[in-house]
Symmetry: C2
DNA sequence: TTGGGGACCGAAAACGTTTTCAGGAACGTA
DNA sequence: TACGTTCCTGAAAACGTTTTCGGTCCCCAA
């Protein structure tokens, strides 16, 4: 059953087929075969035809290693992430992966697990593999140490590099906060509170800043009189909401710093019998689908456009490979997702 | 500011350093340099020392492409997944990635997005890159078409191949169902119901089979008189729970086919004022941390040990690269995670 | 017949390694 | 002095491509 003989007769150990074999079968030289397959003009149409036919007859596939060796281009890029399990790396990674399109470029995935020495290790391996470029995806949206001068272009995604020489692509958290509150205001809310995560995260502070900013434009006060910083968890969402309702029962909208927190908020609002969105509107952040779409009611939220960030990173890198790379920090605008947890006041 | 000159003087375009440079600096031939760096025995200790020093002085890193060309081994494997965003691929991918350890082997990540032609496309690219092996991760735990005979070993993870010639590694859903119900029984539950997802998924049927199996061993009936198949969503968890309570109010435990469904179950139980776990115990499936650990109360659940599956896949592949691969389907045992949603009846 | 020119083809070098194998140096022995 | 041995070293081939450049062939005009 498990005999390795194939369907049509015995072939010897099946040496992998090379350009030489194709050339031989087509009755031309290796050089001509190469040119024929690569669409070089200086080969007669009939000859090209012969070669192409021979190639597909042998189902020839060129050895990319050899090609890379001579063209000095491996057709690969490295994707160095710090937390693969994190929900942020994945969309970025997907965006990048499909922007490269697999025709020309494949991506090496490396997860440093937030460990510095593992990162250097991976870096060595990638350079040794002669990647044409590198995308570095951080675990949280605060600055991370630069990798310094490398022989290939590098793009920092999500976490910016701490060196202004590098090119970083990040999401616009200030803009996101602004957008969330703007949405609430447009729906007639006036008593808006903000519950969010760990204040040591730049993202938390930026989102809050954007929110306050928008409130300021309307001369509205922040309901609850403070930004409720805490943890990025449902439990904190629940706890903070209870405190908030005690301090200010007139609140008519809550902007949560993450969808996770928003779930906690919703939970307590239900428990207290406050209708969402009739009595209180809720908006989250991240558009983490499993949480936002399944909430009761489905949660309006801010999407950071991470796949787009990944695609953009890939494009920038691609352009940089035979050109030169810019520097500085580029931000990606977020996107409002409206679901049922926000609506005009009756 | 963005001038490309480095800190110590102008170097010309910085040709990447090759073994030839090392040899030259050390005053030996390329052959000797190679042998020195690779720990071959036939080189004098002092010579080796010289070479090593030269290498690190130039921070030489060998060109893996060239090495691969001659050794006929690229030191890479392909990871072909069908749904990257899915929560199942990621842990597997992580397990595999860290089992390979980056020293020797790097992994090419390819996401076929469930599209067949994209899969063939990626496959061509990977073979052309001369990967030493392939891990194929499916999107759902049902059989998928085999890739057929390839010049490199292939392992199917999560979704088994439909050909018995191939080696597949899958989770033990029957065992998981058995384990969940066993846990409930040990905690004194007798009126156990099962709410799960789409019946077209083998996983749903297998988990149910395992559950019924364990109930049968105790001669216990299934509370609610049926397995509640539906969708893999919170909404279905809520709907099914309402129906279940109407049909059989005596139920004292619910086994949910996924953590998502379990969240819906919990939601309705709260709403109905039924204490968890005092009155009804709830156990989920998947150990999807964000859902299970943040639930109120935190959710006991079955973990499918996917990282271990990934690690195992990597190990098997590694062994197969210079040996021969087995065939058939190998299952990974699941693991019970106890949290507060299950406890002995008072 | 000779020469010029275009179109096409192939020999060979190159990419950066590893590995084989011949040979040189040092040394002891006859 | 001549000869084996034992150690170490380096020239060269090989891996599978791409690319350069000289050469052949053919056709046409002079």
């Amino acid at each position: 059953m498990s005999a390795p003989s194939s369907s049509d007769g015995d072939q010897p150990p099946t040496r992998t087929v090379t350009l030489r074999d194709v050339a031989q079968l087509a009755g031309v030289s290796i050089a001509t075969a190469s040119k024929a397959l690569n669409g070089q003009p200086q080969v007669r149409a009939t000859t090209r035809e012969k070669v192409v036919r021979a190639a597909e007859q042998l189902s020839f596939s060129p050895n990319t290693l050899a090609q890379g060796l001579i063209t000095q281009r491996s057709g690969t890029v490295g994707l160095l992430t710090s937390d693969l399990e994190g929900r942020f790396s994945i969309p970025i990674l997907m965006g990048a992966e499909d922007a490269f399109g697999s025709d020309q470029t494949s991506v090496f995935l490396c997860d440093a697990r937030g460990d510095n020495v593992r990162e250097r290790h991976h870096l060595r391996a990638l350079l040794s593999r002669r990647v044409d470029g590198l995308i570095v995806v951080g675990a949280r949206p605060d600055a991370r140490p630069s990798l310094g001068d490398l022989p290939v272009p590098v793009i920092y995604a999500y976490s910016p590099s701490d060196s202004p020489q590098d090119l970083s692509l990040v999401t616009d958290n200030v803009g996101g906060g602004h957008m969330a509150v703007d949405h609430l205001i447009r729906h007639g809310r006036r008593r808006i509170a903000h519950i969010t995560g760990d204040a040591t995260y730049g993202a938390a502070r930026d989102r809050a800043a954007g929110a306050l900013n928008r409130l300021g434009e309307e001369d509205l006060p922040l309901a609850g009189d403070q930004v409720w910083y805490g943890a990025w968890s449902e439990a904190w969402g629940r706890g903070a909401t209870r405190m908030l309702l005690r301090r200010d029962p007139t609140v008519d909208a809550i902007f949560a710093g993450s969808d996770e927190i928003a779930r906690g908020v919703l939970d307590v609002l239900h428990q207290e019998g406050l209708d969402v969105p009739g009595r209180v509107a809720v908006i989250g952040f991240d558009n983490w689908n499993i949480l936002a779409a399944n909430a009761r009611p489905p949660l309006s939220t801010i999407d950071m456009n991470l796949e787009q960030l990944g695609r953009l990173a890939a494009q920038r890198l691609f352009a940089a490979i035979d050109g030169t790379l810019g520097s500085g920090i580029e931000t990606i605008p977020p996107r409002l997702i409206t679901r049922e947890s926000t609506a005009p006041l009756d």
